[in-house]
């Protein structure tokens, strides 16, 4: 588990999501990366049930249950600003039993799928973010395996991102900012994905070229 940076790639002008992904993957292959299968990260949202809310009528908290194919036997559960739980895959079964307390928000399942490339110590995953049948955006995840402390290798990661993302290189993720010298863990990756998915959900639907 190395330091990972998750960012969103805006769709190129006049092109569809698929074509932009195609562009990126071609750039990576020219760079010399080798394709090593596919990856998938998905996320489901749950509301805390109304019956458990206090008399003050505060808004129910949102809980996200996520899976990552990089950690096939784990399941991640996180609150917005709260803790992130890493559990066994039996957690999904547990959520079914907790139907009374957590209700699934319908049509909120969001996932990203795509190819996985290995370039020496870097693992690059370019995924299409889909919500239901429609593609909503592009996610790019880059992991630098050897390093586990974020502050030490952020500059190297940035340089690598610049090499194939060009001008769309993101800034340092907020997760890094919190604890500079703490060891990076899989939970931080999932937090980044959760923020990305939330951002994409709030965005308008990607305008299909030609309608306007």
């Amino acid at each position: 588990m190395g330091v990972t940076c998750v960012s969103q790639m805006p769709v190129a002008e006049g092109k569809s999501v698929q074509q932009t992904v195609e562009l990126l993957t071609r750039k990576l292959e020219m760079l010399g990366a080798e394709k090593q299968g596919t990856f998938c990260v998905d996320c489901e949202t749950y509301h805390t049930a109304a019956s458990t809310l206090g008399s003050q009528g505060q808004a129910g908290k949102l809980m996200y249950v996520m899976h990552n194919s990089e950690y096939p036997l784990s399941c991640f559960a996180l609150f917005e600003n709260g803790p992130c739980l890493i559990a066994d895959t039996n957690f999904d079964v547990l959520m079914v039993k907790l139907k009374g307390f957590f209700q699934s928000a319908k049509a909120s399942k969001i996932e990203t799928r795509g190819p996985r490339y290995q370039y020496c110590d870097f693992l690059v995953k370019v995924g299409t973010v889909t919500m239901g049948p429609s593609a909503r955006g592009i996610s790019v995840e880059v992991e630098y395996g050897p390093c586990v402390v974020a502050s030490d290798c952020w500059s190297l990661l940035l340089e690598f991102l610049q090499s194939f993302l060009g001008s769309h290189t993101p800034g340092a993720p907020p997760v890094f900012g919190n604890r500079h010298d703490a060891v990076y863990g899989p939970a931080d990756t999932m937090i980044q994905y959760m923020e990305l998915f939330n951002k994409i959900r709030k965005q308008q639907q990607v305008p299909v070229a030609g309608i306007r």
Binding site: M1, Y71, D88, G185
Partner: protein
Amino acid sequence: MSGVRAVRISIESACEKQVQEVGLDGTETYLQPLSMSQNLARLAQRIDFSQGSGSEEEEAAGPDGDAQDWAGAAAEQDDEEALVKFQPSLWPWDSVRNNLRSALTEMCVLYDVLSIVRDKKFMTLDPVSQDALPPKQSPQTLQLISKKKSLAGAAQILLKGAERLTKSVAENQENKLQRDFNSELLRLRQHWKLRKVGDKILGDLSYRSAGSLFPHHGTFEVIKNTDIDLDKKIPEDYCPLDVQIPSDLEGSAYIKVSIQKQAPDIGDLGTVNLFKRPLPKSKPGSPHWQTKLEAAQNVLLCKEIFAQLSREAVQIKSQIPHIVVKNQIISQPFPNLQLSISLCHSSNDKKSQKSATEKPGPEDHLYVLEHSLHLLIREFHKQTLSSIVMPHPASAPFGHKRMRLSGPQAFDKNEINSIQSTEGLLEKIIKQAKHIFLRSRTAATIDSLASRIEDPQIQAHWSNINDVYESSVKVLITSQGYEQICKSIQLQLNVGVEQVRVVHRDGRVITLSHQEQELQDFLLSQMSQHQVHAVQQLAKVMGWQVLSFSNHVGLGPIESIGNASAITVASPSGDYAISVRNGPESGSKIMVQFPRNQCKDLPKSDVLQDSKWSHLRGPFKEVQWSKMEGRNFVYKMELLMSALSPCLL
């Protein structure tokens, strides 16, 4: 009573003073009696003033019970017998008078009875009948008789006990012949697990409690043997207990592992003959149910081994797929080599006994691998019970301890793969078979070379301590008679699973494949190099000087195996030189260089004017090596060298 004379009675006051203490010389110190006021105070304390006359009867009594009773009695009397006058002033001697009166009455009655009894008309005194006292005897006789009696009593007890013991010993001996069902059941329980279900007694002969996960139930039933005719004589091997094993575990089974050179036709697959191996000899004292159950357990274990192997053969993807046909698994560890693992299960039917007449060939069946399979499956059983797996939380699946943590600690694929052991039973046994085959082929190669070639000699020293996947052998190439001088070729061969690694004495490491030709070629080339090395060592000993030496000469005909080596040595005086070229295929070629003045056919020229030039070495002449005397190359070389060094005497 009125006519009786009055009896004089003397009265003495009994109020002696209480003794407070008795001094050491016997004098007594008395407590002073209470004075009038003290006595009054004591009596007044006993009065419970809270007790009114009849109004507060239920009040709890004070600490002084007497006062309560007195007051209570007083209250009761007042309540109940209001007419009876309470006489508070009873004179103090009243109790004395009463006691005396009752004593007088008693005495009068006694006097009357005695006077009547004295007459013996209406009442008599009759003594209580007693045993007649024995005549008074001397004390010794009495002691003798009493001792005799007690001894007789003790002897009686001992005899009774002895009788009981002899009876039980006799019973035991009888029991050996006529065994009781319960005692036999007890013996059975000492070896096998039994449980009672309803009115049946069932037992467990599976390996489940030892860690096996095979789904066979493995239950046998214990039944009473009642088909015995009590009138006839009980047979020697009669057993009141019989076990009924499941029908699919009857007979005996074993796993046959064999390696064959050529692959048979596809049509021949699955027709492995079920050789009836003779039943293993049971221990002489063990009852017949023990052998039966042990054989059934062995059948179950063989079935489990074969089931595991066939499951892996189907699931695991390998370059050359394994074939599973009926009771045989066939795989190809090396090209042109076939490994077959078959489950041979022969039931005890009379029919099959007749058909199985073939005897298994000894080379065919690799007993080592069969034993290895049994060990491997037992190790697999132990793993399910090891501390890595047990104890486990109730909600976790059965498996390695670290796998349970892989979820909560977010292990990625590399870490998960490192925990799971990837090798299954089949892979392990194939590796072992490959190693055994490679080892035997290496040994055969070395042995064939050693028997074929006499000069130089090959010696192979196999190591005693081997691994299942690795063995080692030290190969020495020497010349007979010159072992101390020529020992430069020493090879350490490590035979692995698929290749042989050779470590040379000079530090080179060479990896040879499983082809036997490679090893043979290598050894031949080493042998030819040895000859040249031997000449070098011999030259040192003989005092000859090495002029040139090369392990791999680039001149002359090309060898197909390895390279030729060559050496040139000069005699101590410098007159002669010997040049040797030895190749694995071309053999050895020896040339001797003579000084110029010994060659007669040299063309005279005018260039050389001085006669000293004729002492230089000149042309070469080949030696007919096959006609040389000497039993091996080095001996011949030594003879040649000594022939060319002139005697100084």
